[in-house]
Symmetry: C2
Subunit: 594 residues, 2 copies
């Protein structure tokens, strides 16, 4: 289906917005009136710019407070409309959005509204324009889509139809099944927005918190299915008012929006994408650093052994159990201190995964093909982390490990680490929702609920994504405010251990420091959980944190010091504990601030 985006979704001047929409690959735009009014381009110039960019102008919006008013006022409204229809002719737009009246002057009289909308449609028709009437969720008398449709039906005018907006319909809790009772040709336009489920004033919710489909809590897909069943064949058009999008880079927002529509089309059965290839695990975490010593010391203390050296690049492989860490000291990585630069995802079919990523507009990265290199399908996540679809020693597939020359003098790994439990990535604040949708749509991971974590200097927002049947766990964090004193975006790798006490003791014996946790935490733990005294003392001594879920699942974890922007965590899960110790995050964050 054709895909459009309202200019109000994007940051910047009208020119910047149009350019961003076209570059992302949209077919058309809705011109939001305020964007046109503030633009230095004439309507004819905007029309030409859109034509140059290959964009149709699918909607001009909004026209407000028109219908259901005393006759004298309606005459004034018609004069206002005539100006706008003239403008639309210059612009080359043939559909106008008319929102249900919110002003105190409108009367609760459907027949009056229908008669006046028919007169408006007469005037529109003379200009070659169609009127799409939409029920605002906070319309004074008309606030539901079925009510708007009853008025349109009564008006019975060929140039008058309805505009359906998923936000207005779903935020009111209307049943979207009734959409199928509207003849498809009378649905003149479909606007799509999602939103996080919030109990708040619907106008504020709409104006500040909308997001792209798949980023919030509405069943936008279900609504689209009903609209398609009704016979609608116009564009799928995004209309999102979002305080963060207003400030974010327009080009990225446009790509994020188009990705959301592609995923929506797949879910609604409109047009398939290459099937998701869900990663089955983490093949490796790659740390980039200018100085490999501190990282090496830390890995050694954790019981990792250096088991391989890349045949063509300054990259070393460290291994313990199924946990593999690459330490890359290539020149291109030295500038920003030690970072978590890449994640190898163990993927059943790397080539198929790459096809899906490409279809969903994930930026592909060069395949790093040196003379001997195994080609790796690499994409960039929204935060810049490289994601590599790969296979580790699996029959029939090239293994990325073949690029590494084994080191025969490597000592046996000895720290009790069995694998990578999860990876935590702090996101740039403009792109949190984009990152969640990316990991969900491109990698097939499932997002869990968002939680707030108190840092001494602000609130973190944290959201985990996991594969449905085991596999990688990725935690996306949003640090409090861009004013964050450190300016860094810390990331961490959490390793799974069988017995955290044994591993933590070993780490300390090897001379590495574990994050020190205040004694008050253990006094509180005692009050909350009544752990055996010796267990508590051991945790106190080693800095091990403890959490228990409602079903008795337990989580024990501790942290290393931070090297550059990266720190490491040891975690031990028992009894099906599925979280990440959120209750302990404030204590950990405060300890890391010291």
């Amino acid at each position: 289906m054709r895909k459009s985006i309202a200019t109000v979704c994007l940051s910047g001047t009208l020119t910047e917005k149009l350019t961003a929409a076209a570059r992302a690959g949209f077919d058309g735009v809705e011109i939001f009136e305020n964007d046109l009014v503030a633009a230095p381009l004439s309507p004819e110039e905007i029309r030409a710019r859109c034509a140059d960019l290959g964009l149709s102008i699918d909607l001009y919006q909004p026209m407000r407070d028109i219908e259901g008013v005393p006759e004298e006022l309606f005459d004034r409204n018609l004069r206002r409309a005539r100006h706008k229809f003239d403008l639309m002719r210059r612009l080359g737009a043939d559909t106008v959005l008319v929102c249900s009246n919110v002003s105190p002057q409108t009367l609760a009289d459907d027949s009056l509204a229908a008669r006046q909308l028919a007169r408006l449609a007469d005037l529109a028709q003379d200009h070659g324009i169609r009127v799409a009437y939409e029920a605002l969720a906070w319309g004074r008398h008309v606030s539901t889509y079925d009510h708007a449709w009853r008025i349109v039906e009564q008006a019975d005018h060929p140039a008058l139809g309805v505009c359906l907006d998923s936000f207005h319909i779903l935020s009111r809790g209307s049943d979207p099944r009734g959409i199928e009772d509207i003849p498809g040709e009378k649905i003149f336009f479909l606007q799509l927005a999602d939103a996080p489920l919030m109990a708040m004033d619907v106008l504020q919710w709409s104006r500040h918190y909308r997001c792209f489909p798949g980023q919030g809590g509405f069943d936008v897909t279900g609504l689209v299915r009903h609209v398609l069943n009704a016979g609608y064949d116009g564009p799928l058009s995004l209309e999102v008012f979002n305080d963060v999008f207003r400030q974010a880079d327009a080009g990225r927002t446009a790509v994020d929006g188009l990705r959301s529509l592609l995923a929506l089309e797949e879910n609604a059965g409109v047009s398939p994408l290459p099937a998701p290839v869900v990663p089955s695990g983490v093949a490796f975490a790659e740390l980039a650093t200018g100085d490999p010593e501190p990282v090496g010391t830390l890995l050694t203390a954790l019981g990792f052994a250096r088991t391989g050296r890349h045949r063509g690049k300054p990259v070393e492989l460290w291994q313990q159990g199924a946990a593999r860490v690459l330490v890359n000291t290539g020149t291109s990585t030295r500038r920003s201190g030690t970072t978590l630069a890449a994640i190898g995802l163990e993927t059943p079919d790397p080539a198929a995964a790459a096809r899906r990523a490409e279809a969903l507009l994930a930026p592909a990265l060069p395949k790093r093909r040196a003379v001997h290199d195994v080609p790796l399908e690499a994409i960039a996540a929204p935060d810049g982390t490289e994601l590599l679809h790969c296979a580790t020693d699996r029959p029939g597939l090239p293994s990325w490990t073949d690029d590494f020359e084994p080191l025969h003098d490597a000592p046996s790994p000895a720290g009790g680490i069995t694998g990578i439990d999860h990876l935590a990535l702090t996101q740039p604040w403009h792109h949190f929702d984009e990152a969640v949708l990316f990991h969900r749509a491109v990698l097939g991971l499932r997002p869990h609920d968002s939680v707030d974590l108190a840092d001494p200097y602000g609130l973190f927002r944290s959201r985990a994504l996991t594969a449905p049947h085991g596999g990688p766990r990725i935690v996306l964090n949003l640090a409090p405010g861009p004013d964050d004193a450190s300016g860094s975006r810390p990331q961490h790798v959490a390793f799974a251990v069988e017995d955290i006490v044994t591993t933590a003791r070993r780490v300390r014996e090897e001379g590495a420091e574990l994050l020190r946790i205040p004694a008050n935490y253990y006094d509180d733990l005692q009050a909350r959980y009544e752990l055996p005294a010796d267990e508590l003392e051991t945790y106190r001594d080693l800095g091990i944190l403890y959490d228990r879920d409602e079903r008795g699942g337990e989580f024990r974890h501790c942290y290393t010091a931070t090297v550059g922007h990266v720190f490491l965590e040891l975690v031990q899960r028992t009894g099906g504990y599925g979280g990440y110790g959120a209750a302990n995050a404030p204590v950990r964050l405060a300890a890391q601030r010291r």
Copy 2:
């Protein structure tokens, strides 16, 4: 009355919070459990630190999900409480906050809750501790203060009383008059918070949007009166959860909080402050600049004349009608480009105004007393702007103009400017609410509603403050996000004119540029207001913007180019128009971005 603040109001580590509270002048603190748990100090060390700082520990909080539960669970809760009471003894805290139970395990049984709270109070009494029971607005069965009081009354235990919290009471819409039915000695504690009036989930509202009394929409003063009438004589204690405060400088937040309590005490008739001295007008606006040429050119074009030179400093006085502008090229001001550095407020009694400012913790600035200088009472507004209480040529008072040597060759002013209409100051984002309270409490200005203004790159928040009977108008703006590309905080001075067309023509004839407004704006204006064609063409030519209010009041305004961080506006008000042309702000902001 004694004044306290909960540590959760302030950003930082526990030590930073305590220091900030003490420096601001609070008498005591509430220790929020999470702050203690995350602190490296032992309870004894925290106690000693508070003693050193002269702070009492007035409350330990919160204890959750205690009462109204099956007996076996209550036994566990009592064991948990015993741990906390031991901790409180070490800390030297004698009152604990117990919140009404929110867990699914609690039963709707007031007698059970009363019996268990009495048993908890028994245990507390053994430790020398009092239990203050508070109804959370989202408590499972107990969510109103009168319900909590009925349970406390039924429990009838000397160590059990209620804690009243203005947020929980006012957010539920409870009638606070019933507070007077509670015996004063059974009100163990009073927590104060305000909040903007929002229709949203009360838990989210409480956790993220609380603010200090006087910064939101609740009648906190009225509630305090009822509590005092009941006979309460404990501390007034602030408890605010606010996402911005969590990130802001703790020292400033603490001063802001104490100022809010001082103003509250005045309003509630508890303890008077020096009476407000409301400014009657703007004596002058002072621009600081390293290069006086561009500013001088602009002022000349606007019809200002250079009428005086400061006797001891590199400051020149420009004047037209009652509009006076100082241009200061002193070395201390050269670093940051051209800024609006100071505002002279025409004040009936400058010395009395200074006494009130001091009582409300406004930072006093040196009185700039040079050999011949008239002493000026100067304070710093939260954004760093100097506010000077002064008198202009008024009998019996020294006039600041006496410092200026008249320039006899000055041409007569000729631009039709009659005075300063308003001053608009962009605020640092952490301190917007602080600034509103400051201007309200210290200067006696009245805040108007907050409005959102769309800039191409984000939303501005804007709030005007005006004197009740004419006098200065100050508009505080909050720019979108600290990521704002320019990094600057633009400020502007708006001059009142009698006939904007004449003045704007003159400005252009003098060779100064007015901000160019797109033609589309005028097409839209025509559609909305049907202005006479020649009037519209004149506005289009000169870049004059137009607005009309519901009662027919009209506003015409236009803008100069920006010099450094400052631009100038010409405004013409007729028919009692009281706003600032908010509808035109998006067009103006977009034009300024070009």
